[in-house]
């Protein structure tokens, strides 16, 4: 068990966790402030990836394509909010769940009709190679980019929420919605803007993960569940909770996938070890959630006092 392997896996966990954070952040704010369960968040992630793939092809530049996809997805997200989602704020959770589930179906098919079942999104050639971090320690350059961007966005979000006026409104709304409303914060555009930011974050994650995973219809469903687990662990409405939760989930999932098969391999046959490892790793994440909820039913950093 070399330390290189451990460092490499830790970086992988960090990379995965930061991408999860991008999704979880938008989700937790919508959930916390608008009190709305939005299952279609994964669809925005998918849209972001498809738009990025298209724009990269159109502009010929990876950076341009990704950067343009962000406002494009944000605008689509805001349009969605204004048209359909707004009517759901006052409805019960069941209606929200069903309506956004319907949106998942609609988005999946709409994307399939417009783009087809998948789109290629190639890694930028300049970043396709490894970077030598330390003697003997190589790590894919592209994944380093993801870590860098993820960390930068996290820092930016923190600044936005903690240091700006809008951020203060957001925090007020998350910690006590009725009071904030009573104090006159009910500016519809705040909600729309928030939704747009969330959609933009999804686009970043979708575009960056595109070259690693496949840009395909239905890519949002799997990551959506993990995002929900993250915000439940972290506390609904809390950005800090989303960050801690996503790093936790990212590392637990990656370490589980990486080391449990090895651990099991010491006792069981390869085929059993390779099945049990990832299976138990995925279950670990949910067990983690169950334990956290048992001890702290409102999550680790609840936004509401």
């Amino acid at each position: 068990m070399s330390w290189i392997l451990i460092v490499e896996q830790a970086l992988n966990g960090l990379q995965f966790g930061l991408m999860l954070f991008l999704l979880a952040a938008g989700l937790t704010l919508v959930f916390g402030i608008m009190d709305m369960i939005n299952l279609a968040h994964g669809s925005l992630y998918m849209l972001g990836a498809f738009l990025a793939a298209t724009l990269v092809q159109a502009t010929g530049s990876f950076a341009a394509g990704v950067l343009l996809a962000i406002p494009a997805t944000a605008i689509l997200g805001m349009l969605l909010e204004v048209s359909v989602l707004r009517t759901l704020y006052s409805r019960d959770h069941l209606s929200q769940v069903l309506a956004t589930f319907a949106l998942i179906l609609i988005f999946n098919e709409a994307v399939r009709i417009v783009w087809g079942p998948d789109m290629p999104l190639p890694m930028p050639a300049a970043l396709s190679g490894p970077v030598q971090l330390l003697p003997g320690m190589y790590y894919p350059a592209y994944r380093l980019l993801i870590i860098g961007v993820g960390a930068a966005v996290a820092a930016l979000l923190y600044l936005l929420v903690a240091r700006t006026r809008i951020g203060m409104l957001v925090r007020a709304g998350a910690s006590n919605r009725e009071m904030a409303l009573a104090m006159g914060v009910n500016i519809p555009w705040l909600f729309t803007l928030l939704f747009g930011v969330g959609a933009g974050l999804c686009a970043v994650a979708g575009a960056l993960l595109g070259p690693l995973l496949a840009v395909q219809v239905g890519m949002g469903e799997n990551i959506l569940i993990l995002a929900f687990v993250v915000i439940v662990i972290g506390g609904i409405g809390s950005i800090r909770g989303a960050l801690v939760g996503s790093l936790l989930v990212g590392i637990v999932d990656t370490i589980g996938r990486a080391f449990l098969p090895i651990l099991f391999g010491l006792f069981f046959q390869p085929r059993v070890a390779s099945a049990a490892g990832p299976a138990i790793a995925s279950v670990l994440v949910y067990l983690l959630m169950a334990v956290v909820l048992y001890i702290k039913p409102q999550g680790l950093f609840p936004a509401r006092g």
Partner: protein, 321 residues
């Protein structure tokens, strides 16, 4: 007229296979059986969702547990349905007890998330059972056998069995809704604090409801596995829970026939789109048959936004007006 409708439907359902036999067309018998089984599963969800007001997003886990328990028994040589199906029902009831005991301590969004999470956990666990197919699924050689000279391998025999199970389930729900447990549950759904203030043990009633629903879902799962002679972890996936919910909503939350109408409506719609080409629609959208879920999604969204009581609710409203 209203009283007679369920009986006439039953009569038509009983007569259906005879019509099919005359046409040598067993595909639709098989299809109808599938509708009955899904109707039973949806009806069980309707109990907790519609009557109990509990938004469980993990109901597929119970259907799946029943499906897998009965399939594993069949693949290990236990052919009798008299053992397999009760075992499946019991196993799902146990799963519902375990999951419900933990989940029902939470409320609102957390309850939804926890039921979702537990269902996914079951999905991954079942997925890792390589001995029983893992994600390739488990193929069964034969359907469960009921003895008595009846071969469930015949589409007709299975059709009547599924119909019987559904009829029993509906009758059970009807009696339950009017029983003390049923009334308390509906009171809890209306206003939980008030029910608690009156002195009803809310948690215990909800749990009882949850377990009953889970058990019936397990039976539906066992029937589903026998019907298709194949089971696969996808039956436990959260999107499958979503499908069941769609059926209940489509058919009418909290209405007795909600599950049946929803299942028939959704599965019928899917079959209609996939297998019966409508030329006028094809003229506008040549590939429409491959995009059935788009139609389903739009219809569902419309229903949630404009008719929250579902089709059965619409019907009820029409009658009253």
């Amino acid at each position: 007229m209203r009283r007679a409708a369920p009986w006439v439907t039953l009569l038509l359902a009983l007569a259906f296979p005879l019509a099919m036999q005359a046409e040598h067309q067993t595909y639709y018998l098989s299809f109808a059986s599938r509708i009955f089984v899904y109707a039973l599963a949806a009806t069980s969800l309707n109990l907790i969702l519609g009557y109990g007001g509990m938004i469980s997003f993990g109901h597929a886990a119970f259907v799946g547990t029943g499906a897998y328990v009965s399939s594993i028994l069949l693949s290990e040589g236990v052919a009798s349905a008299w053992i397999g199906w009760p075992a499946a029902t019991a196993a799902s009831a146990l799963a519902a007890l375990a999951i419900g005991a933990v989940s029902l301590r939470t409320r609102g969004a957390y309850f939804i998330m926890i039921t979702l999470a537990f269902a996914q956990m079951m999905f991954f666990l079942v997925n890792s059972m390589k001995a029983y197919g893992g994600d390739e699924g488990l193929s069964l050689r034969e359907r469960a056998s009921v003895g008595l000279g009846v071969d469930l391998g015949s589409d007709v025999a299975f059709y009547y069995t599924a119909l019987a199970a559904l009829a029993a389930g509906l009758y059970g729900l009807h009696r339950l809704a009017h029983s003390r447990l049923g009334r308390v549950i509906q009171a809890i759904r209306e206003n939980e604090e008030r029910a608690e203030a009156i002195g009803f043990p809310v948690y215990r009633h909800k749990l009882a409801c949850f377990v009953i629903a889970g058990a019936v879902a397990g039976l539906a799962g066992a029937l589903l596995a026998s019907h298709g002679k194949y089971v696969n972890p996808n039956v436990l996936h959260w999107t499958h829970s979503g499908t069941l919910m769609v059926m209940v909503i489509l058919g009418g939350v909290g209405q007795l026939w909600g599950g049946v109408i929803g299942a028939a409506g959704l599965l019928g719609l899917e079959d209609l789109i996939a297998n019966h080409r409508m030329e006028w629609l094809a003229a506008m959208f040549p590939n429409y048959q491959q995009h059935a879920s788009l139609g389903v999604g739009i219809v569902l969204l419309a229903i949630v936004l404009f008719a929250p009581q579902g089709i059965a609710g619409l019907l009820a409203r029409g009658r009253r007006a």
